[in-house]
Structures are given as C-alpha cells and as structure tokens.
Symmetry: D3
Subunit: 270 residues, 6 copies
C-alpha cells in the first residue's frame, strides 16, 4: 500500500494503481519493480505536508495494488484501461505507478484529457521503435490520438522525425532551461499529468531505463507538478520509468512527486 | 570478443553468437547484458587448459558479436536462426550466449539435433506462459518439435502440466541428486547441449532471472558439459539466462562452461 | 502476500506473519526488509511441488501481512505473540518471517512447543548481549523457558558460556558435519522449527547479519526441514535473519525452505 | 583515523569521536558504518586547503576512534557525553561522527551551547517516535532542553505537532530555498553546529536513512558550515546520519563538511 | 563500438580510442572499466542532436577499440601516443576514453596543442605522487611540457605546491563558481580539451576514483565543452577517470560530453 | 584492529600486518580494501573457539595496522619485508592481510621458510605477466627463490609454461578434487602458509580479482589451514586477494581462515 493511502476504494478521491509493465524498456530493465519501490521509499515521508497544511491520509487516497503485467503490451493496456476507467466511474482520479511509460496510454484513454502535460527527457513521439508501435518511446504520439495537445517539459532528445512531429501545432516542447519559467494555463480543458522520472538529471534519478544528462532539478519538477495540480484541472496522473537500479533516489523522488501532486490538486480542487 | 576467439570467421570451427534477447524474463530482467558480461568475466581465464593440454585460441573459435535483439521474439528467433544456420553451413558449431532461454530455439532449429541435453532448474515444457507461446518457460517444448528427445539435468521444478509432459517417453528428467551419476550415451545421434545457468544452485549463480535453490554444484555442471562434449556428437551449444544482477558469479561460471565444452568437443572430435 | 498464500485467514491451516524487527542486529542491519524480500524472491517458485505432488495454493496458507515493528523489543514481542496466538486459536500454524531471530520467541510463546528444533550457525544461548536480554543472541535461552529441549543443527560458534549451557541435558548441538545424518525422533512431543538463515554457509546466504563460514548446504537444510515437517508434530515455524544485503540468495533460500516445510507438514499431517 | 587527524590527543584543538549508534533508524539502517565510511572517503582530500591557505594536519585535530555502541540509547548517550566532556575539559572541540542523529544530544550536553544550528531535512522536534523518546526524530527537542534556541536550515518536513513546536519563539526554520541567503548572527552566544546529511538533496547524499527530496545543494551546506565556523563561536560539531547504502556520496560530502568546519573555525578563532 | 561511431577508420574525422589504464588510481580503482562503461551507457542516446540539427553517425566518427593496458605506465603511454599519432596523421581528431587521467598525456603528445583546457576537480600539477612521476595527479604538469598554457576549469583542490605552480603565468584556474561565466578565447592556438569526470560534483558522477564535493553541474560542463568545441580549434579530446563504482551516472555523463564535443566541433569546423 | 588482536606488540606471538598493495591486479581491482574489509567482517566472530577450547584474545595476537602501499611494488615489498622481519625478530609470527598476492613475497623473505604451502586457483609460476616480473601471477616462482619447495592446493589453471614449471621436482600441485585427502608431512622443515582467497569456488568468495570456477569448498580450505597450523611448523601466514566487490563473502571467509590458523597453530605449538 502506498503509505497513507488508507481510504476505502469506494470513497476514494484518488486511487493508486501499480502498473509494472516492463517489456519494451530499451536499455536497463527493471521498471517492473517500480511500483513496489516507489511505495517502499515513500514510507519515510511525513503524513503531514507543511506547504498545504494537510495530511496525506486525509485526502482520500486508496491503493488498488498492482495490475500484474504480462508480455502482451496491447492486451495489458486494454486491461489496465479498464481498471483506470473503473476509478474514473467512481469519481476518483487514477494515479498510475509504472512500469514503463507505455502504461500512461491506458490511463489517458481512461481519463480522456484535452491536454497532456509531461515531464520527460524524451519526446516519445516515435511512430514505432524497432518495429514496436507500443514501445515506451511512442507513448506521447499515441496520447495525441486522445488528447488535443501535448506539453513536454524538460525534453532534450529525440529522433529527427520526432522533432519534426514536435514542431507541429499540437506539441509544445519546453527545454530544461525554460522549465523554471513555465506556467500552466489550461483554460477549462481537462489535463493529464505524466511524470517520466528520466526528466530529472541522472544525478537525481539514476534508477531509470535510459538516463539522459542535462536534465531537471527535483525542485523544478516539483514546481511543475504543484502548479499543474493547483489548477484543479487534472483528470489523471502517473509516475513512470522508475526501476531498481540505483540506491533509491528515483523511487524517492517519484513517490514525493506523486504526493506533491495530490496535495496541490486537493487544494486546487477546493 | 570472447577472449581467445581469434579465429577468422571463415575458417572457424566454432562461432560465438551473442543473443541478448530479454523480453519474456519472468522475474529479474537483465539477460540482455548476459553476452557482454560472460565475455568480460572470461577475460581472466588462462588460454591454456591443463585438462586437455590445449590452448583455447588454437581451437578455431570466432566471435560473431551480438545479434541485436528487439521486442518481437518470433521475428528475432527467425533472424537469429539465420545467423546460426550460416555458421552451420560454414561447417562450424554455433555457440550461443543468451539472453533468455528462448534463444536456444533458434540455434536448435539451425542445427537440427536428434537429442537435446539441457542443464536447467526448470522443465521449460509449458505450452505457454501468461499467454506467451514463446516464453523462455516453453523452450524445451518447442525444441521437441525439432529434436526427438530431451534430457533435462538438474531440473527440480515445473507446473503439474509440465511434469506430466515430462513423463512422456521423449523426455528424461535427471534430478539434481542424480546428475553426478549420469553418463551420456547418444549412439550416433546428433546432440544439442544447452546450459541454463539457473541449473546451478543460486549460491553459485545468483545473477539469473529465476533463482531456484537446491541446484547443481559447478563441478557437476562441468562434468556434464565435458562428458557431452567428449562424445563428439554435439552440433550446437549455448549458455543462457545470465544477467547482471550479481557480482559476476553467473557470468564467470557461464563463460567457463562454454570453454569446457569447446575443449572437450575439440578433443572428442579428433 | 507470500505467493500462493491465497487462503482466507479464517479457513487457513497456515498463516504467514511478517515480523520485521531489526533492533538488536549485531553487525549488518537490514532484517527489517526480510519479510518483503522473502515474499518477493518467492514469486518465481512454481505453485506445484513435484516431491509431494501438491500445489502450494491448495494447502490453506494465508498471509497476515507484517506486524509493523518498533524500537521496544519486549513490547513488540508481546504484541507479536498476540498475533501468533490468534493464529493458534484459529487452529492454524503460524509461519513467522523475520526480522531478527528474537521474533521466534513470540511465536514459541504462542505455540508452546515441547521441543525446539533450530537451524543456526549460532547457539543463541547468551544470557544477555551488550546488556540486552532480548538480543537475537539470547533467543534459544529464552525459548528454553517455554520448551523442554532444544536441538540446534549446524551450530558452529558461541561464547564459552554458551557452549557450557549447550552441554546441559536439554540442549543438543548437531555440528554442520553431522547434520546430514540427523533424523528427527520426537515421540509425541510438540515441535517448533526455526530456520536462522545463517545456518547456511555464507556462499548460499550472504544476506544476513552475521555471516559464519563453514555452514550448511541448502539441500542439507531442506532435508532437515522436510524431515521435521513430515513428522506432523510441528506447531510453529519461522525463517529469520534474512536481510537485503545480497543479490537475493538468502531470501530465495528462506522462501523456498518455508515452502518445503509447508509441503512436508501438509503431507505429514495427513 | 580521520585523515590528517595526527595531533596528540592531549594537545589537540579538535577531537573526532566516532559514534556509530544505529538503533532507532526509521527506514534504512546502516549509520553504524557511518564513522568508518566518512573516514575512508575522506582519504582522497588534499591536506592543504586553498580557501584558508592552511593544512588540515596543522590544525590540531586528533581522532579518538569510535565509542562502540550498544542497544540502550540512553546509556550510550550518557557514556558518549562523558567522552565528549573529556574533550571539552581538555579545551578541545568535539567533532562527532554519527551514527544516528540521536548522538548529537550527547555532544550538546557536553558542550552546553546557547544556540543550536542544524542542517537537516527534518525538524526532529517530536516528543517521541513510536513510543521512543530517544529516537533520532526527537533530537532537536531534547537539544532545546540544553540550548536556548535552535536554527534548522533546510528543513522541509515534519509532523503537524513538530511544525507547531517549530512556530515557537525558540525555533527558527530556514526552508531550503532561503538557506543561500541566511547569515549567522550569534552575538556572543556559544553555538553548536550539527550536520544531518539528509539536509542535502538525495541526489547528493543517497546514503542516509530517510531520504527527503528537494533538499540543499552541497555548496549551500558548505557556505552554512563555513559561515558558522568563521564566527569562532562554535563549541561542538557533528556530521550524522551517513550510512553505507550508496556509492560513497554521503560519506564524501560528510567528511568534506567536517573539514570545511575545521578550516573555517580555526581561522575564525584566530 | 561507441554507438554511432560507424565511420571507416580510414575516412574518419574523429577516432575513439579506449585507454583503460588503471595503475596509479589513488583511492577507488576501476577506471580500467571506463571505456567499456562509457560505450555501454551511451547506447541510449539518440543519434540525432537537436541543438546542432545533425546526426552523430554522419559526423565521421570511428572507434579504434581499446589499447589494452599493462602495468608499465611509461611504456603504455608511448604505445598509446603512437596510436593517437596515427589518428593525427590520418587527419582525424583522437578522442580518448580513459582510464586514469595519465592517458591524456599520450594524446597531448600526439596532438601537440598550444593550449590545454581541462575540466577537473584537481590541479594535477604534482611533480610526483608517492614517488610516481607518472601518476594521474601529475598529468597537467607533464602536459605543460608540451602545451604553452593550461586552463583548469572547476579545480577546487590541490597541494600547496600545486597551488604555487598554478599561480605561475602559464596556468589559469577557474574555480567552480566562475565556470559558468568563462568563455574561450584561444586566438589561433591549437587546443586540447580534457574532461576529468571528477570535475562534476560527486552527486552527478560518483563513479570516479577520487570524489571531490562542491563541483560542477552537468550543464556547466556541457557549456564548456560546447564552447570549446565551437571554436574549431581543438586537436585532441578525452574523457577520463570514469570507473564502474556507481549506477552509471559517471559513464552516462562522460559519453554525453564526448558527443557534445563532437557535435560542437563538427559545426565549429564548418 | 583485527577483532581480538589485543596483545601488546612487544609481547605478541602473532602480528597482523595489513598490506593493501593493489597495483598488478589483472582484472577486478580493489584488493587495496582487503585488509580493512577482512577486519570488518571478522567483527561478528565469537572470541571463543569451540574446536580448540580457547579464546582468540588469549593467543597473543597484535595488529600492526596497515603498511600503506604505493605504486612501486619492488620498493613496497622491501619495506614490507622490513616490517615483517621486525615481527620475526620479536619472536612472533607475521600474519599478512593482502592486498594482491605479491605481498606474500615480502613475508616469505622475512620468514625464510623451507616449504611454501599455498591455497590458490592459480599456479602463480609465471616469469612475468605483461612484462611485470612482480605481478601477483609470479609470486610462487619468486617464493621458490627462498623456499625449497611449493605445495599448491586447489590449483586448477595456469599457462602452459607454468604447468611445465609445476612439473619440476620442487612443486607439488594438488588439484581441487584431491585437496580433501591431502595431509601435511613437513618433517622438521619450516613452513609458510599462504591463502589466496580465489582458491575457493567463486560462489564462496566472489570478491576477488580473478574468479576461477570449480574451486574449493570453505571447509576444505579450513581443513588444510588447520592441518598445517597443527604441525606447529609455520613461520609465516597470509590471506590475500580479497577485494570489496562482493557482499562480504570473501572477507568473511578470509578472516575466518586466519583465525583457524591461529587457533590451530597455537595448539600445535604447545
Ligand atoms: Mn517517456
Ligand atoms: Mn524518458
Ligand atoms: Mn530455462
Ligand atoms: Mn531455468
Ligand atoms: Mn540465531
Ligand atoms: Mn545465527
Ligand atoms: Mn536529523
Ligand atoms: Mn534528517
Ligand atoms: Mn585529473
Ligand atoms: Mn580529478
Ligand atoms: Mn595467487
Ligand atoms: Mn589466485
């Protein structure tokens, strides 16, 4: 159980869903251990949050546990979408813990946002990767079949084709150096917020499949998550690409960012 | 390059082929790093072998390098089978370094043995695993579409259905306690020898996807590999399921067993 | 949840209880992560057991989860004893996952055995350790306040005072070299079986607080656990002293031995 | 021996005292290895310091070695206080290497400061933690029984009760974002300076019991330690909460900060 | 092969040369694994670079492989100088992957620059270290026998004698806090650029022999490498002091900086 | 201090000397951390030994600490020989903790044995290794300049030239399979006993520079050390080639074997 996620599933406003899919990880595998690891390294966080003057355990968070993964990503995403859709039908916000970034697609399909906001080192706008149309490296492209626009914060690398795709009107790329100045302005659109932990500089999150130097500082990521959460427009959220190949830095940061989102969103929704 | 594999590919009697497939690993992933790791931890072995009074670098071993893996196991096996078939057509013995056990299937198809001899903790006789008919846990079943019989040495676990399949006439299971007494007797049949490193007790090879206690000692594995090699009947060989999640024990043992096979086979073929 | 522990708590014949106490560990701490780690590394084991021709998930095992530990060992043992006593009152056998060896005491008090059988490198017969009367190094002495006799298998070290205590009539020490020949003969006495993972040689279980070389092989430990289980006399069981400071060897062995016990006991009780 | 701590104990101006207490660590244990690890990772530092144009080995630092810890924290703190008091009576400044933060209390009692300045992610103002009134999470509260005021730099988390306590007049909390602008102004008060390594962001010090993201950068910590040292008002110092669960980052930073303090204090005392 | 280094050696504009010398490492050894590790952690980088709108694989980079090291540093440097000289004679720029910093000397001798620009925590201006005149800690002093001047960026430690040497006219030290404002101005001088990975703060590159806190951020290092590369004046380049004692942070950063140099230099040379 | 080595140096019968030389390690470096690591992992051993009914701390063992190593192996060996000679002149037995195997030579020169008994996977009979005549791989050859004969127990690999050298009259090789049956018979000759930890199978001692599978079990090594110690003929002893690249298995085994030797020798000398 995610620490403090003590709400009954039926009454919950937020539901944590573990999604340990780990089939298309390009380099260093292990995201299958991400959900467990994030929960474990979140045990040390105080229930109370000074910034919002609230207790995490008062915010109506339940933990669905993990949706056990298997090798067929397409089938798995369908099943996971069903789990997330159940959360939505129960008037709660699904908070997915990956697993590879691909799992975002299931939650996006379940929550049907207008705008997709993402922290990520990578554009993830490929049409396919090594022939796989459901690789983690294609997730934002698939998301754009659902959402009208994508804002990718901290992106610093991609193929030439991805950068061409990123230059179209429905994609906004905010390079790492500009993230500190970015402010959300969503109007009345529904928003999905996805945190690929590799948006951080590898010094802060080495436990991820594809480290990419020159990334974000943890406080920059926090400020984005808080600002997005405070809009009150978010319909779905996730933290993905955490694996077990470091000393806990990535999991600790991932768990903390999930909490920051919930605190900000709960206040922002008031 | 595998240390000592200095032969020209065209003149080689043995060709090392790295096959870093790592898509269906059930528990702890990382076999994609197996080929590199085996090569690296084999650097410390003396070129000379006292047992056979020969030098490894004199035995005509070439290293093809790795056949880069992608997510579609069926396609990858087809491609890898082609690489191994090229080796066979060049009158050399393909020595595959896994990667997950599934890669054995490609080499078996390329070398078309009558008898399949395997060191493995697991029966690998499933029809499918989580709906995947090409999981590492199905490899011996698929092999039996090519070979007439399978001898599984050190096997100590499987599903009930696998044990039922294992009770049929074409499968012989030699439990760990009986391996020391086993002797090969292949008549004039062509033999394939596959070493799943998890045949060893986890104390000797913790760097593997699915540790299974109560396994073989390294010398027991060596004696099997030597005895099989000395028959001179082997048409293909592999070491699989080594990952990077230990301090090198699994890779060191895997690399050593490959060498033992080559030394024994080169003598046995005289 | 321990893999396969799918029984309802109310109907269960065995109840796994995690007891992550980690306050008196002498050297390398981390047994607080033992229960989680044992459960995780047990995920790879087949549900079916060929030796007994039975499925683990058919044997009525439930998982109570962890009894969260705090700093006061005496208080914690009282509380844990209550949890184990509940299991006993429900006519089930408590299977404790440590945590430091001290937790055995709670389960022994709850199950009130006549004979205590223990796999351990250490005698654990101290009166106190550094002034602490509830150190893991005192557990067998405390157990003898409940049980009439203790059989310590694989013990190879202790203080002079402990060896003196061990020479009394109620203690039998079976040194590592004699364990293979040991056979249980309990008459009609109730038996408790405790597995301190450091009974194994450090090569097979490096992830423990106080490694002691020249220990048992995994199959020797298995044969003891099986033989004890098959007597049908066991009222309580535990695996303790597994920490997270290795590559999973200790946890894998610990989880496997728990399963061996359940398989043997379920058959032995028929 | 801390590298360069070559002074005779009798003539020393500073005495390093290792205090490997590790009984109340909440999450990841291992601070018992902190003193050794800090000493070891300090071996690479040049004796000469360019900033102060002085040699560490000229500054009169001796190393008392470790005060071996046992399970009874209250007793241990009494004993450790005695060791630190001896240092004070010898007109030297005790520099404690933890161990858990609790050890600070012994040094504070021995040095009797007016003001307590602390780098820490946590307020450590609890009345008790899990019933333990001597947990590391209570240390600053206990310190306030000795000192008149506490300044906690980099603090970013605590329970609601702790934040209430922190709002009283004798506590000043400087959040991470304000630390760079903080300047010491102690008048003629005696000051104690405590460095809980978790004040740093986990990216810079993952080897600690309870990582808390969004923390200080190493240079921010250095500037605090230097500024405090340069006042010449410091009567006692420590670095605590370093464990062995990273690749040396926490220990290297901890050892460096101790040196920075000594260099600054030696100059500031001129 | 360094990923993307697909040019034929004969046509190459840049040649990667692995130099795994690891004999004088002062504290934590393992730089012998640096070249392999940098290549491996560079596999995840996109071939395309958005900043320069170019593909790495179009830039004419070849990989010579490793020049196997032995114990005699002087002999090894001679041999390595020959390999680098061959590269120079082929009108290509040698890019050395260390190995300890000493290997820089071979490449400097082969490329004969006027100005030596170095990112390093250390001055490396010793006359000898423990009697060894060819220690990594002497490399910049030896370099000054070839080059007319040295600019050491990010240096923050050295012996008193080194700082004295650094105060002479041919050495410029840019402390970490001033690196962001530094701009290259080489006139028409030939420049060599050396990246000792310990120039970075240990949080970003823990896998190095001698961590030194208070170092550079990755983007600061990138800006230096880019600015130097864009001058078009560089005749030789290296990344050194990466070992295998972290989770890949140092290797990932090192590989990325090499790529940044090549991209910038290829554009700057237009 | 080696745990229990509490004797005054002047009165000691045995003196532990740390010799962290680590310059010629062929593959995985880190033996420089061997002495510290052996001492640390020996902290868990009981002072009392049941086999000999004696306390380690009663046996007159002192710890000289480490003889700091530098890069020039020849000079270092001279210096170390001096330290060991001092021990001999004080009528004590030097017990060296390596460091690479080369350090044995210094202790052999100081103790001048007739017979050299060694546990080692390797013959170490090379004339040079990569041009280095003082590599660890040459140590037994150099030893034979001092001793009249060498008995190498557990040796299983070497170059062809080494095996030829080993066939001469002054060398006896006992392969791993025969070690259990070997018994010492030294007549009245002085004996030196050297334990290269890689004599063990890698499963029991992965933390060493050059793992070689198919090695000895820990109890086999213990029986050799005990039998040799009980002769009372030993003039010098060492444990070498332990590094920090495992989870403590090699260091724990090494420290235990040193103790076994002292216990046996102290009894054998009565
Ligand atoms: Mn992504
Ligand atoms: Mn990404
Ligand atoms: Mn298999
Ligand atoms: Mn298997
Ligand atoms: Mn015990
Ligand atoms: Mn024990
Ligand atoms: Mn604290
Ligand atoms: Mn803290
Ligand atoms: Mn340098
Ligand atoms: Mn440096
Ligand atoms: Mn040797
Ligand atoms: Mn050896």
């Amino acid at each position: 159980m995610f620490p403090g996620a003590i709400a009954d599933r039926d009454d919950a406003d937020y539901v944590v869903v573990g999604a340990p899919l780990d089939v298309s990880t390009t380099f260093q595998p292990g995201t299958r251990f991400g959900p467990d690891r994030i929960r474990r390294f979140s045990e040390t966080f105080d229930d109370y949050d000074h910034h919002t003057e609230s207790h995490f355990s008062d915010l109506g968070v339940a933990d669905h546990g993990d949706v056990r993964a298997w090798d067929d990503a397409a089938e798995y995403l369908d099943y996971l979408e069903g789990v997330c859709t159940d959360v939505v039908w129960d008037d709660a916000t699904p908070l997915v813990l990956g697993g590879e970034h691909t799992v975002t697609l299931a939650n996006v399909r379940a929550t049907d946002p207008d705008t997709f906001v993402c922290l990520d080192a990578h554009l993830d706008l490929r049409a396919e990767y090594d022939g796989n149309e459901l690789s983690h490296a294609t997730v934002t492209r698939h998301v754009l079949d659902v959402a009208d626009e994508a804002v990718i914060l901290g992106a610093r690398t991609g193929s030439e084709a991805e950068w061409n795709r990123a230059s179209e009107a429905d994609v906004t790329v905010v390079p790492p150096g500009d993230v500190a100045d970015w402010e959300p302005d969503f109007g009345d659109r529904d928003v999905y917020c996805s945190v690929d932990i590799d948006g951080a500089d590898p010094g802060f999150a080495p436990g991820t499949g594809t480290m990419e130097p020159f990334g974000l500082a943890p406080r920059e990521m926090r400020d984005v998550v808080r600002a997005v959460g405070e809009t009150g427009d978010v319909v779905g959220f996730d933290v993905v690409e955490v694996n077990d190949r470091d000393d806990g830095q990535a999991a600790s940061l991932g768990g903390k960012l999930l909490r920051e989102f919930v605190f900000a969103d709960a206040v922002g929704s008031v």
